[in-house]
Symmetry: C2
Subunit: 248 residues, 2 copies
DNA sequence: ACCGCGTATTGATCTGGGTCAAAGTACTGC
DNA sequence: GCAGTACTTTGACCCAGATCAATACGCGGT
């Protein structure tokens, strides 16, 4: 378990602030120091809301560990997840004072935050930070567009397979024995969260997961522990051209 | 009609390069001059492909006039539009040499392009450009997330209403007589393009447009000329909380 | 005026995924 | 061990939107 001590030193924060270790390789020590000055950590438990859409937002930050989701809700209660925040992902928009989405901790969550105004000051003085942020935002935009294809054109089964492969790619805890296409991980999302991600109902998610299990595309131990015996098979099910390259 | 002469002077290019007039208000004359040096225009006819996904992309640029679309296609031919590029929108990702999406001119199109390498050089030396680009990218990301809600959770009727209100917001040619919620514009998309945008079939698009017409939400002259007698009514149909503010 | 072709509308029918309902599973706390 | 709660699975039925098919509209070319 994480405790405050383990976070006291920035070394512990491998996934931290816009990857500032990477940034700072190109910067002078002052910038690192100034980032450290305005940095603080926040922890949340699974299910807790980090911030509500419309609230004042006086920080930006990145996910250190755990998973958070960005969701949008219509007045009648329909909700759509519009961002899945994994470790190292950035939260908050420099230049905007109000949260545009609900941010909810999907698992226990640690975030590394920076007070917004000093961060923006620093950013305007440190081109590398703005450039790094631009790269990250462009990556997010690509992810969002990939997701749009999933939402707009894929079947329920393909949607589930797509989500599993995304999580597998970023969350795998084991590549199996030797050179093999096996991937093992724990699902960090409830069926309902998966449904919100994919624009489905939780019943459909459950049914399709059962179907993929029945067909041998995935194996389940309990509700959450997933084994993908053949990653290429999964990618095929997702409707992605399986790239050709080795994904590991 | 636009001709080469009308484009020769950068004044004509009101919607131009990452709004460089705005950037340059904060820059010295050198940067403007260097942007001008690497700038050139390209014209396309409706239906022409600007670039295919996977092609080498040696430029970045922005839309001056006309409309282009970013689309993704699966091997079996299903396609999803993932970006609708209106005048002033930016195309291309600094730092990536290959196009990730098909870019197609939906109407006759003029783009203002910059050769990629010099543009990147300039960008690394001119913080304001990177910052401006970051803002634009964040705006696009917001638009993409809005769109995800549309794709994932809205009904066909709501999807059409959402698309019409987006186009009305950015493309309106007339605000009607005096203070009124009337908006008039020409649809720049075929039914098929609208379907690709919304994750529907063109038949469903056609049916829903007919239904909105029958219910008095919109009026049509020919297939393309649209009148929205009451913009608030349309926003309501789109399932958006009608903001409260005057949209004009 | 007629043809051809791309675009749009409309109808008839089918189906994937939504909705409603009922169990099943796995925890936590007593 | 038992009750309570949150999550998941499974079944039965239904409907919004897809699919297949026919027709209509508009426009440039001869």
């Amino acid at each position: 378990m994480l405790n405050d001590r383990s976070l006291a030193v920035s070394q512990e924060c491998a996934n931290c602030p816009i990857k500032h270790r990477a940034v700072c390789a190109r910067c002078d020590g002052n910038e690192l120091e100034r980032l450290e000055e305005i940095k603080y950590y926040r922890k949340f438990e699974a299910g807790q809301t980090v911030i509500w859409s419309g609230d004042r937002m006086d920080f930006v930050g990145s996910v250190v560990s755990g998973i958070a989701s960005l969701t949008q809700t219509m007045e009648d209660g329909r909700t759509q997840m519009v961002g899945l925040l994994l470790p190292s992902d950035f939260v908050g928009r420099p230049g905007r004072g109000t949260a545009a989405y609900d941010v909810v901790a999907t698992t226990d969550l640690v975030m590394c935050c920076f007070r917004k105004t000093p961060f923006e000051d620093l950013m305007s003085k440190t081109p590398h930070i703005a450039q790094r942020l631009l790269e990250m935002t462009l990556d997010e935009l690509d992810a969002a567009r990939e997701w749009m294809l999933v939402l707009g054109r894929k079947t329920a089964r393909e949607k589930i397979a797509s989500l599993l492969s995304i999580i597998a790619r970023r969350n795998a805890t084991s590549g199996g024995t030797g050179f093999k296409n096996t991937v093992v991980f724990d699902l960090p999302l409830t069926r309902e969260a998966m449904a919100d991600y994919l624009g489905l109902t939780l019943e459909t998610v459950s049914r399709q997961i059962s179907a993929l299990k029945r067909d041998g595309v995935i194996e389940l131990e309990g509700k959450r522990h997933v084994t993908i015996p053949d990653m290429y098979r999964l990618l095929e099910e997702a409707g992605d051209d399986a790239d050709g390259g080795v994904f590991a």
